[in-house]
Symmetry: C2
């Protein structure tokens, strides 16, 4: 006897019933969540701290492909990428709101799976889901998340505070999420051409995981606090290192150089890039979605940086007229272009 997949139509619950069903039984954990889901609006109490707000929209077929993205991972990632923006302000996230639009292709069970991922992220990053909206769509799945955090004005890191002489630092490693996407796209094409072939993701767990389930670096933010380090500027790496360093340089009115030897690349990503005939450094410079942190620190804070694990010094801030350069291992100097790969420029 074959096991049946249960399918409950969303219309059988109605909009309010669906929200109840998907959100009940999740207690609020943040002291600043004054009132959560269930009224015209939610209420946040950050007392004498500032409220930090970030919002993102994710559209099926543009930002994700449900052929290879499990809904639970998608729920987790939708929350994680927003929280990454809050961490990039050197703030601690506290709440999210979540709005969804979906066609009748999606059952209650599919939405439950998505919410499982949402709540896993809420639990992991200690935030409350306090509101949202659900709606029909004629086509596809659209997700809008707004994230809230708290910070003191003294601690907040903007993009405009970098000064010549500051060290350019990167957390974790870069390019892995991009290579994970290449693997998933390749397996999708193979599957589309012959549906009897099972996907071969073996030995690619690391890079595929980086693409499907990014983990914003709250650990680094916590260590900044512990070590008393406040970066002079910070941004999360969602569109690739080069794109982000351009944002910091433009908004701070400075230039920068990146040392090729200072760019952290995971060995799995390096091997895979070579297998795909791609340059690992180019993948690390232009590949998006690693959700690591790019930040600058005053050189006097070097000792504090050394205290924090998994931080790499990748370059230095210069005067604006110096431009934005790459120093290669071979001793050459190149201008970095804001857009690298053609397929990133849409």
């Amino acid at each position: 006897m074959e096991s049946e997949i249960k399918r409950t139509e969303v219309s059988s619950l109605g909009e309010f019933g669906l929200i109840d069903h998907l959100t009940k039984g999740h207690a609020m954990v943040q002291p600043s969540t004054f009132v959560g889901i269930g009224d015209d609006a939610a209420v946040i109490d950050h007392r004498d701290q500032l409220t930090v707000v970030s919002t993102d929209m994710l559209v099926e077929g543009i930002h994700f492909d449900l052929m290879y993205t499990p809904l639970k991972h998608l729920g987790y990632k939708s929350v994680a990428v927003n929280l990454s923006d809050i961490y990039a302000m050197n703030a601690m996230p506290t709440q999210i709101t979540l709005s969804l639009a979906f066609s009748n292709r999606f059952s209650v069970e599919a939405l439950e799976e998505f919410y499982e991922g949402v709540y896993a992220a809420c639990k992991n990053f200690n935030v409350d889901l306090i509101g949202g909206d659900t709606s029909s769509s004629n086509k596809g799945f659209i997700i809008s998340v707004t994230a809230f955090g708290r910070a003191t004005s003294k601690n907040i890191c903007y993009r405009n505070g970098a000064k010549p002489g500051d060290l350019v630092c990167v957390s974790g490693n870069l390019g892995s999420a991009y290579l994970g996407l290449q693997i998933l796209e390749r397996e999708k094409q193979i599957f589309l051409s012959d549906q009897t072939i099972q996907p071969d993701l073996e030995n690619q767990a690391y890079v595929v995981g980086r693409q499907l389930k990014p983990e914003p670096r709250f650990d680094i933010i916590e260590l900044f606090e512990k070590s008393g380090l406040i970066p002079t500027s910070m941004i999360d790496i969602s569109d690739g290192l080069v794109s982000e360093i351009f944002h910091i340089c433009k908004q701070s009115g400075v230039g920068a150089y990146i040392e090729e030897s200072g760019i952290p690349i995971h060995p799995d990503a390096e091997l895979l890039a070579i297998k795909f005939n791609l340059d690992p450094v180019t993948c690390a410079l232009y590949g998006g979605e690693d959700y690591e942190l790019l930040f600058t620190v005053d050189p006097n804070d070097l000792e504090k940086v050394k205290y924090i694990p998994d931080i790499y010094i990748a370059g230095e801030i210069t005067e604006a007229d110096h431009g934005i350069k790459l120093h290669t291992k071979g001793g050459n100097i190149y201008d970095l272009k804001e857009k690298g790969f053609n397929h990133f420029t849409a």
Copy 2:
């Protein structure tokens, strides 16, 4: 010589260029807007007040029809309906974030028109646009707005505070927005069957305006403050009076009756309902999108209610076991059903 409509492709500006283009030159006006657009997140400073948050998603083909909705009106309405939720908490809105997804059918000029409406609403309701996201979509136009407001905990009105004996009050008049939609849908059908016929919206300006450009009742909230009145519960009327009174009764654990004679209906709406062979009272009870306020007040506050213009006493809160009833002009008593018209139940 025919005048040409200018069409600039969004791709010619890029995502960051587009955001700059659409948002530049709009100064922040709210003292609590600490930092607006341009970083990973915006920053709000509500000091010793609470932050109230509400979010809505609007999807083309589900919530609006671009055949008869001018983009400028749509921009205005997208903001207005969210602010309505903030007012319904007895709070004053201060900021919004706006995320859009749109297909390449939309030009820069079309988006400019939409933003014109957004900024008109921002100006009218004195709120700052502090962040957002823009994205491609494969199909259609999707809008997600999150609105922020401030309030003291003493003043906030929830849905759960109504007590037996409280007066049920309604601002403005009901059913007009629903009848405006009927007009627009009729003219669309006529146009689709014969494109030489010009739409006949004459004498229907009021109801059509109520549908296309709703005005949330900040004036009422201001008068609550002035007269020292704090409703015991409040909700905005987006899904129809009956749907909203059910929310209040369910969350407050009470019943209610509505007096047919107490339901405010605009003369234009009344005439039009009759022309469409609809019952005006049913339109007022079940028609959505008027964005008026439904609230309950302690009977001792009756004098304060009288001080505020455009408020109608439409019934009374009762014990829960009494249910939710309509008292007709003819002296009959009916149970109100949560869903009225078939075409509202989807």
